[in-house]
């Protein structure tokens, strides 16, 4: 049995989110404030019996920020467990009764909703019946908003059910059970259907059979280890019963002996005698009790356990350990505690918040690898913004959170429906497509998962030259823009691009590839490459024509040729030629062909250079020559603009505008007024206005072209 889905509706910045988990270790990846903690909190509200959350703790800010007025809305948290059934065992005539199997039977009987063996548990945080009835009766009347305004948090109830199979992320389902509040309409509670909401249950009975442990993002481990509820004490509490009687007896007798020894120290006996003497003096023999001093060190093990602490074997004080080690130590203790407390073979869920906090990167990887091999009955869900953890994470076990704005985030599952796409559309045979992809992506994964936009290229040339062009011409790097550039190393773009889809990663993916058309009269081109180029375009159009998240951009010929076809760029090529060739005759011949030859001669010359010094090396040399006045070929600029559409911020544009304006050194005095404006613009409005002025004034500047494409 394992937790397969969590649905979260209207909770904090999660308006409508569905997380999908697999057995073993899962990660939730997301930038800061994207709602990772909110997701973990929601899981704990539903499943963790040590997390206290009820009507009294409910806050207005717990409702989705995008609801506007939360009043009347419901928060819904639902968990779906799969593979909860093992029919065969159950039907055996004389089933051996073990507590574990019995636990399984009880849990199943509470939550199972079908023969197939899955079960659900759902929490509805909703207004109580009487309030809902009032709202329903006032539907479509002027009193609706008045009544709604009177709803208080204390009118909300926590309603737990099992067996609900509704998809609450479906707006229509939500409206059918809650009503259409915006339209002044509320569902009548008398018509609540348990076929949608499920059967009311006592959540405690479910939590008794699923253990959930939460390890929070650590801020002060040292302090944590000194608290009375620290993991060591918790572990001792659990295992106390297993300590051998002989050991306990031994300790008891030693403590008794110690007590006697202390009491028999002459100085201590003496105190007793002194007290007795004083008493005699004060009240006389008849009334005075006989006093002696005793040591009463407790022999109770639970009390003794208080003195246990963690230390290093070389006797260094724990305080001397680095923060990173302390954290690792804490997690290790938590894991031992988890193992000690875990009494349900059925399902143990460990929720870890940002294990990377303070932990050295290489330890992060190891930790994750080791968590993965946790036992089959343990499922780990951890949130992270560490690229190191996501690098080792299996792509199938990753949920990515996308922040739309401060109020709203949503969840994306990179592999959602991917196997079907691989088998059905790409016609992959054999291994599940997700698995192939997972292996293929090993190295590039974090770029893919963390970038806000992606550009796929086919070779080293693009991988090296494009970032240099962007940085030098537009004044910001691709990294700053949040755009990841991935060299696919071939033209099999579809294998990677298919992750970007409305049902999977909702991020833009631009494909840059060559059409490899041969210029008429040229001799260096390959007819075969040209044919492939045309076929590729057709294939990509078929595959992604309808996918708004993927678009292909084609170099008419090849990167090197199309770059050289722009006159302003040629000076950089001459510089490369001067560096790369030793013989003057060759240098002159090549430069001449590029400078004043026919298009076919230029084509052949560029391809010759690229072949002579290898495309990658050529690109590297070229990249080091490029200056701000270089011109980015139109198809590349289009691709960047496409990938950047969702990521450009006013701040970024401002930086680019300033850079572009500053790069124009030959403006003369005509533009001093503008220079002054650039120096003085401080408010966002002033800056936006200035950017518009700039674009109007310099329509041919690449930044102007870029902004036109991004904004369109």
């Amino acid at each position: 049995m394992y937790l397969k889905y969590i649905q979260i509706i209207n909770f904090k910045n999660l308006k409508s989110a569905r997380f999908e988990f697999a057995k073993g270790a899962n990660t939730i990846i997301g930038e800061n404030d994207s709602g990772k903690s909110n997701a973990l909190t929601a899981m704990r509200i539903l499943l963790d019996d040590s997390y206290y959350y009820n009507t009294k703790r409910l806050k207005e800010t717990d409702f989705s920020y995008t609801l506007g007025d939360w009043k009347g809305h419901w928060i819904i948290i639902s968990a779906f467990f799969d593979e909860i059934s093992d029919e065969d065992k159950n039907n055996e005539f004389c089933v051996e009764l073990t507590p574990d199997e019995e636990n399984a039977s009880f849990l199943r009987s509470y939550i199972r909703c079908a023969d197939k063996g899955y079960g659900t548990v759902t929490l509805f945080i909703r207004p109580c019946n009487s309030k809902r009835l009032e709202l329903a009766e006032a539907s479509h009347s002027c009193r609706f908003e008045t009544i709604r305004a009177q709803i208080k948090l204390s009118d909300y109830e926590f309603f737990y059910t099992s067996r609900s199979q509704a998809d609450f992320t479906d707006e229509a389902v939500y409206k059918s059970i809650v009503g259409d509040i915006a339209a002044g309409e509320y569902a009548n509670p008398e018509n609540d259907s348990s076929s949608v909401l499920g059967t009311k249950i006592d959540i405690i009975s479910v939590r008794q059979h699923i253990s959930t442990v939460f390890i929070d993002a650590l801020r002060d481990v040292e302090n944590e280890l000194r608290k009375p509820k620290n993991p060591i004490r918790q572990i001792i509490d659990t295992i106390e019963g297993e300590i051998a009687v002989t050991d306990i007896d031994d300790i008891k007798s030693k403590i008794n002996a110690l007590n006697l020894k202390i009491a028999s120290i002459p100085q201590i006996t003496d105190i007793g005698n002194q007290v007795n003497r004083k008493l005699l003096e004060m009240i006389g023999t008849v009334y005075s009790p006989d006093i002696k001093l005793e040591s009463r060190m407790k022999e109770n093990f639970a009390v003794l356990a208080r003195y246990l602490t963690v230390t290093t074997s070389d006797q260094n004080d724990i305080e001397l350990l680095g923060l990173g080690h302390l954290n690792i130590l804490y997690i290790a203790l938590k894991l031992v505690e988890f193992e000690a407390n875990r009494n349900r073979e059925l399902l143990n869920i460990m929720i870890i918040e940002e294990p990377e906090a303070h932990i050295h990167t290489h330890i992060q990887k190891t930790l994750f690898d080791n968590l993965q091999v946790a036992h089959t009955y343990t499922q780990v869900v951890m949130s992270t913004h560490s690229t190191h953890i996501s690098e080792v994470a299996d792509i199938e076990k990753v949920n990515i959170m996308k922040k739309v704005n401060e109020q709203l985030s949503f969840v994306m599952k990179p592999t959602n429906g991917l196997d079907q796409f691989g088998a059905g559309i790409l016609k992959h045979k054999g291994m599940a497509f997700t698995q192939i992809l997972s292996r293929y992506l090993d190295a590039k994964r974090s770029v893919l998962l963390f970038s806000k936009g992606v550009i796929l290229v086919e070779g080293d040339g693009e991988e090296i030259l494009i970032p240099a062009l962007v940085k030098n011409v537009l004044g910001v790097s691709l990294d700053e823009m949040g755009i990841g550039l991935i060299n696919v190393g071939s033209v099999a773009f579809e294998n990677v691009a298919c992750i970007f889809d409305a049902t999977r990663l909702q991020r833009r993916c631009a494909i840059i590839t060559d059409l490899d058309a041969i210029v008429a009269g040229a001799t260096k081109g390959s007819q075969e490459a040209m044919n492939f180029g045309a076929a590729r375009k057709e294939r990509l159009t078929t595959l992604f024509g309808a996918n708004h998240y993927v678009e292909a951009f084609y170099a008419p010929h090849t990167l090197e040729v199309d770059f050289a076809n722009i006159a302003q760029n040629r000076e950089f090529i001459y510089a490369v030629i001067k560096h790369a060739y030793t013989q003057k005759a060759t240098k002159d011949k090549l430069i001449a062909a590029i400078k004043s030859g026919t298009e076919a001669e230029r084509y052949d010359a560029v391809l010759t250079i690229a072949r002579n010094i290898q495309k990658g090396w050529y690109a590297t040399l070229l990249a080091s020559e490029i200056r701000a006045n270089a011109v980015i070929p139109a198809y590349i600029l289009d691709a960047i603009a496409f990938a950047a559409k969702d990521v450009v911020s006013p701040k970024l544009l401002w930086k680019m505008a300033k850079y572009s304006f500053g790069a124009n050194n030959d403006l003369g005095n005509d533009y001093d007024y503008m220079k002054k404006k650039f120096d003085e613009a401080a408010t966002p409005e002033q800056r936006t206005a200035l950017i518009s002025d700039f674009c109007r004034e310099f329509p041919k500047d690449l930044f102007s072209a870029f902004i036109a494409k991004v904004v369109d």
């Binding site: 159950n90 019995e102 199943r108 199972r112 909703c113 018509n191 259907s193 076929s195």
Partner: protein
């Protein structure tokens, strides 16, 4: 927690064998053979097999009282009740099937409430009236198919179900959704069915569905075919072969034949009425006592009261306790006037008569629970009172779906109830005050919504109707009498004393038309059952007695047509034979 030897202590070898049987058992238990005792020990024994197991050991009884009897006996034995469940089949279906799985029934998923027999009757009458069907006082409107159809439609529209539907929907769910049975069956360790002879087909089928989902459940059907007097309610006593087929398993037949209750003389008498031979034989301490067995056919209806009063007095004088004397009749109508007359004739004797309480027993109704709290003695049985208050709150919360304030506890409810106890001399006024006060405490507006106002209205309507129909007093003291433990000479129908025993049993109205009922004499479909029905009733009646049995076929009762009722045929036959052997004293 007692161990196995504690659990089995004091059982006869027969009884011990039943507890220890590993197979599924079909148990025939003769009258007075210690069936309840054996079943109680069986449950305890079963639960003790797996002391750490939380799986349910279930006892299904015919009445709430029998279930309470079993639980309280287990409690007295010091048995941990956490994995034992005892209740009626209706309660079982509600808890294990309807509440958890109503969502899978189109008819129930949008909510349901349960109506009692009174409401059912009222619906029937009003539907018949609407349909223009004329009914006599004793006619059952549900005999008309059109009424049944309209009734079903009405209930569906009101989201209501009656008692029979609890079984019907349970059967339907358990048949249609196999995983429902798998879920339930996986958490049950044993099921024990008491009075199986009164079990109806739906109940057999529900249990079979559950059992077939987990055949490691241990089953036991216990009862006595000779006492199957609920045939009119659909009770069917299945034989071993039928059970084997239905449950796809093999039942082992066991018997409890030793009667600890009656003298051999009484046993010999009721053996005459067996429809299935059991081999019952007295093992009672008093087995050789003679006692009195008397059959009288000469007393007239008018003199009956005096005759019975004389018997009661002489029994009391000879030291028999009032509670050990029971006056029986086949029908309530005879008993109402008889009990009134006996009370005026013997003003010093207490009678536990078939009083009609203004408030009918209905533990599923939260308002009834408040009434019970109001009218039962306070200060005693505090733990029961707290349990009732808790039950009240959970019905309001889960059944009526009204949110309760967190801080209100069961004792707050009790103190609110107690506050109203002396408000007024009239019990109904007090009850209304209690309801108002308790709901105010829970911050619930009793007039809001649909369910609660209609529940309240119907509750008081019903009280009103009973008060008027039977001319009952509503003052606080008279109502609270019904909620006290009963004392005195018992007056009841034969059906009402099933499972009970008395030193002295006095039975009247043993006349064709009463015993058996006219239906078995007149109605073609029931005619063939006349003999067995009569025998079973006589069997139950006679086997209640430990020692003394006074039977009356009084004269002077006339049918509507003016002809005299005649003594029950089967009794006449036996009486004649027995009088010759001298065992029955015929009074001429």
């Amino acid at each position: 927690m007692p161990d196995f030897s504690d659990i089995l202590r004091g059982l006869s070898p027969e009884q011990e064998a039943v507890c220890k049987a590993l197979e599924n058992v079909l148990l025939t238990a003769c009258p007075g053979s210690g069936k309840t005792r054996t079943l109680t020990r069986c449950l305890a024994y079963q639960a003790a097999q797996e002391p750490v197991s939380k799986k349910w050991n279930i006892a299904l009884t015919f009445t709430n009282r029998a279930a309470e009897e079993i639980t309280s006996r287990l409690d007295d034995m010091g048995i941990d009740l956490s994995n034992i469940w005892a209740g009626t089949i209706h309660q079982f279906c509600m808890q294990f099937i309807i509440r958890p799985y109503a969502m899978y029934s189109g008819r129930l998923c949008e909510g349901y409430s349960i109506i009692d027999e009174y409401t059912q009757g009222e619906y029937g009458k009003s539907i018949a009236k609407d349909l223009g069907i004329k009914l006599g006082i004793f006619d059952d409107p549900f005999q008309t198919p059109a009424v049944v159809t309209a009734y079903e439609t009405l209930l569906a529209a009101n989201k209501e179900i009656d008692f029979e539907m609890i079984l019907r929907f349970s059967e339907e769910l358990s048949t249609r959704c196999p995983f429902v049975c798998a879920n339930i069956a996986s958490v049950i360790s044993s099921i024990l069915i008491d009075e199986f002879q009164d079990t109806n087909e739906l109940q057999y089928s529900i249990l079979a569905n559950i059992f077939k989902a987990n055949k490691s459940i241990k089953l036991m059907f216990a009862g006595d075919v000779n006492q199957a007097i609920y045939g009119s309610l659909g009770g069917v006593a299945k034989c071993k072969a039928e059970l084997d087929t239905l449950y796809e398993t093999t039942f082992k037949e066991l018997r409890l034949t030793g009667c600890y209750r009656s003298t051999q003389r009484v046993v010999n008498l009721y053996k005459n009425f067996e429809v299935s031979q059991t081999g019952v034989c007295s093992v009672a301490d008093i087995k050789d006592a003679t006692g009195t067995i008397n059959y009288c056919r000469s007393v007239s209806k008018e003199n009956l009261t005096a005759e019975i009063a004389a018997i009661i007095c002489s029994e009391l004088v000879s030291g028999t306790k009032a509670e050990e004397i029971c006056v029986l009749a086949p029908q309530w109508q005879i008993l109402f006037s008889l009990s009134r007359n006996l009370r005026s004739k013997l003003p010093d004797v207490l009678f536990d008569a078939p009083d009609i309480s203004p408030i009918k027993y209905d533990p599923l109704n939260p308002l009834f629970l408040l009434a019970r709290l109001l009218f039962m003695p306070s200060g005693e049985n505090v733990s029961i009172r707290k349990r009732i208050a808790t039950e009240f709150m959970s019905i309001v919360r889960d059944g009526l779906k009204i949110m309760l304030p967190d801080k209100i506890q069961n004792f707050d409810i009790l103190s609110a109830v107690n506050h109203c106890r002396t408000l007024d001399a009239d019990g109904i006024v007090c009850l209304k005050a209690v309801i108002e006060r308790v709901f105010a405490l829970l911050r619930i507006d009793i007039n809001k919504g649909k369910a609660l106002p209609s529940l309240t209205e119907r509750f008081f309507e019903k009280i009103d109707s009973r008060v008027k129909q039977y001319s009952l007093s509503t003052d606080y003291d008279s109502i609270s009498r019904y909620f006290r433990d009963k004392q005195g000479v018992v007056i009841s129908t034969i059906h009402g004393v099933k499972g009970e025993e008395y030193t002295t049993v006095i039975a009247v109205g043993l006349l064709n038309g009463y015993l058996p009922n006219w239906d078995f004499i007149m109605k073609p479909e029931k005619k063939p059952l006349r003999k067995t029905e009569t025998l079973k009733l006589l069997y139950v009646l006679c086997s209640r007695a430990k020692k003394n049995l006074y039977l009356f076929s009084e004269t002077g009762r006339e049918t509507n047509k003016g002809t005299d009722y005649t003594p029950t045929d089967e009794l006449s036959l036996i009486a004649h034979n027995l009088s010759l052997s001298g065992q029955l004293n015929l009074k001429t």
